[in-house]
Symmetry: C2
Subunit: 183 residues, 2 copies
């Protein structure tokens, strides 16, 4: 993958996480990294090509980070903490929501391939989380619990960003940890 492609995706990720898909233009991204918009089109012919590539890179990065951290401990509680921490750092380090909170909210207004990539991101995250939940639960129950944890995190990111209050995210997460701690 070329250096320019990564620069474009970096710029696109920052912009789309802050303002959404439709509020980001090829020209803006090009200006950000010091090239022309036609050069961006060389790498991503259409905007949805950029959107899909962005989500796929983001998704891979998040899952790799989750797997890396979960190798540090096999304890389910530690792994839940790792999951939460990955999301927390995404909020704190970038001062913006998860890419897929934004694109998930906008999904009905996105090209189908972009919207599907967002759905895949959620499925993958739910699957990851479901795997660390107690095997005493049914597969469906684990999936539902996993979806519940993810929904709370995503909602908490969105509200904390809107209210400009990271402490609110932490307070919500504290309850989440307590509720899902396994003994």
């Amino acid at each position: 993958m070329s250096a320019t492609v990564d620069k474009v995706l970096d710029a696109a990720e920052g912009a789309m996480r802050a303002r959404g898909y439709h509020a980001v233009s090829f020209r803006e991204l090009a200006d950000d990294i010091g090239i022309k918009s036609s050069s961006v089109h060389y790498h991503f012919p259409q905007k949805d090509d950029l959107g899909v590539a962005l989500i796929e890179r983001y998704s891979k990065r998040v899952l790799a980070e989750l797997n890396r951290r979960s190798e540090e401990s096999k304890n389910p509680n530690d792994r839940l903490d790792a999951f939460i921490d990955v999301y927390r750092e995404a909020l704190v380090n970038t001062d913006s929501v998860c890419l897929c909170v934004m694109l998930g909210a906008e999904s009905r207004g996105l090209p189908d391939n972009v919207s599907n990539a967002v759905a895949d991101f959620f499925d993958a995250n739910i699957g990851w989380l479901a795997n660390i939940l107690p095997t005493t639960l049914s597969k469906k129950a684990r999936r539902n619990k996993a979806a519940s944890v993810l929904a709370t995190l995503q909602g908490a990111m969105m509200m904390a960003a809107t209210l400009k209050d990271t402490g609110l995210f932490d307070a919500i997460v504290k309850e989440l940890r307590a509720a899902h701690r396994q003994s």
Copy 2:
């Protein structure tokens, strides 16, 4: 409030809940209700005027609905159910997320007055919810619990809409009810 103003706001609500603030244009709203975009500008000179008016109308409507339903019972569990039902119906009836999930995600890319109106919506909802939580808890603890419930609902709406799976919303809500039921 004139009939046209309401028609514009109706069209704007449907469009912005589906696709977001930046993906909605004056011309589109005008076409929807059979007038010209300059007539929309007569009622809302700038786009942020429209945004603020839309959120304020939405916020009043949601809070009125919450209050109306909560008059049916003084039982805290019933009132929590009423809160959840209001959000569930918003999802099911319109097949789209809460206006403030969308605008909350986009908030960093919105004009300040619009972004502030979204924040006010969340504050009002958190306040409403906090009021039905056990008075044995501290004020801060109630606020945090209320924010947690709201975050889960908003996140669940967003994910259910993206995955086109209302059942997922229901499954998440089932856990939420169980976790917050007072005996």
